[in-house]
């Protein structure tokens, strides 16, 4: 029955979607929307005629779920809100129920049974849509996490032979690995003899972070370079002492400026203010 009404449902659905305030014409064109809707209805109606309403895990339903999942994921990536994505499926339910009502007419009992079936089915499909939508969003977040980890460890060459590495955020094992690798590589590439690790952007130094710092310093020493840790704030200094971490055999400074000064001293460089010559 629904098969014959396919065109009808599609028209009704499209009307519902277009009437919805949440329609995002800036993100998706009407033609694309129609194509998506048509594809979904096609496979949905084919399945409805098979009579299997309950078991969505069965093979017959996999094409519908695949299409729906694909739509949900692209919507998540395009930046649709959950409400807008939900409206897509909910408005289909409305269109189906409306058609059903027109077809069955006065037979309340039959109308109720059929409506319940459609309801249950569409609710299941909505849940699937949301699951996939959220999965799509999570993928975006994971990708961003990776990107942040990549960009947050720049090695800066502040002077000939002096490298600086500002660390921002918490140092975990994975980040330490990235920091150490890029620092050691840069030491080789530039032939630097002093590296400054600036931790003013690290919110808290616990024993694991300290251990990672100590490891990085030892590795730099093995490469024949000296490593200075700068940016130790007063509260960090106090916590480190309370924790009982021994950083006494590492050169530490409170600011990047004083670390740079120390580096100049080690390299026997001097920064002088030019006094205008008086004749």
């Amino acid at each position: 029955m629904l098969q014959k009404k396919k065109k009808n449902i599609l028209e009704l659905w499209m009307k519902n979607q277009l009437a919805d305030e949440g329609l995002r014409e800036d993100l998706i064109s009407n033609d694309d929307l129609r194509a998506q809707s048509e594809e979904l209805i096609d496979s949905l109606v084919t399945n409805l005629s098979s009579g299997n309403f309950t078991d969505l895990n069965s093979d017959e339903w996999s094409p519908v779920i695949e299409i729906l999942g694909g739509i949900a994921i692209t919507r998540a990536r395009q930046g649709f809100s959950p409400r807008e994505t939900g409206a897509f499926v909910f408005s289909l339910k409305e269109a189906l129920l409306e058609t059903l009502q027109k077809e069955i007419g006065d037979d309340t009992k039959a109308l109720f049974t059929e409506s319940m079936k459609i309801n249950r089915l569409m609710d299941n499909l909505s849940v699937i849509t949301f699951e996939t939508f959220i999965k799509g969003r999570e993928e975006v977040i994971l990708r961003q996490t990776d990107e942040i980890a990549e960009i947050s460890t720049p090695v800066i060459r502040v002077w000939d032979g002096i490298l600086a590495l500002p660390i921002i955020g918490t140092l975990d094992s994975a980040r330490t690995q990235v920091v150490m690798e890029s620092l050691l590589q840069e030491i080789v590439d530039t032939g630097s003899s002093i590296a400054i690790l600036d931790i003013s952007g690290v919110p808290a130094v616990d024993s694991l972070v300290a251990q990672h710092l100590i490891k990085t310093v030892s590795a730099t020493r093995l490469m024949g370079a000296e490593c200075i840790i700068s940016g130790i704030r007063p509260e960090i200094a106090q916590t480190v002492v309370h924790l009982g971490i021994d950083l006494s055999n590492i050169v530490t400074k409170s600011t990047l400026a004083s670390a740079l000064q120390h580096a100049f001293k080690v390299m026997r460089l001097e920064v002088k203010k030019i006094t205008p010559r008086t004749n």
């Binding site: 996490t145 918490t170 919110p203 808290a204 024993s207 007063p234 106090q238 309370h242 924790l243 971490i245």
Partner: protein, 145 residues
Amino acid sequence: MRIPTCQTMILALSKDTIKVTQEQDVVFLKNRVKEVAVKIKMGLVNQTRLLTAASELVRNMMRYGGGGSCLIEVVSSGRSNGVRLTFTDKGQGIPDIEAAMRDGFSTGKSLGLGLPGTKRLVNEFSIKSKVGEGTTVTIVKWANG
């Protein structure tokens, strides 16, 4: 009727439980702890101490307990407010708590400062552990303590 005596009456003002199973939850937990500490006007040094302590314990929980949950409470002892954190995991437990509380003792390859260091950072510290059942660590840091 006998009223059970307590060393000090500690009142819990607000409660919040956070589950920690992934690396991302750690950052979330630390942010929440910081928020609560700022709310009760804890000083910057104490904030950092509490945050560091929380960081140590949550690391332990991830590493040895396979994840768990943390209860964040704002507590009051009448005169001052503080933050109480309860870390609960269902990991293998600690066979020798006395040894674990000693500086430099570690079954992993760490500095072995986590538990004893944490104890020095906070005002109140208690640890309960049963081998095979899990570990519970409770710490309290007062806003001006």
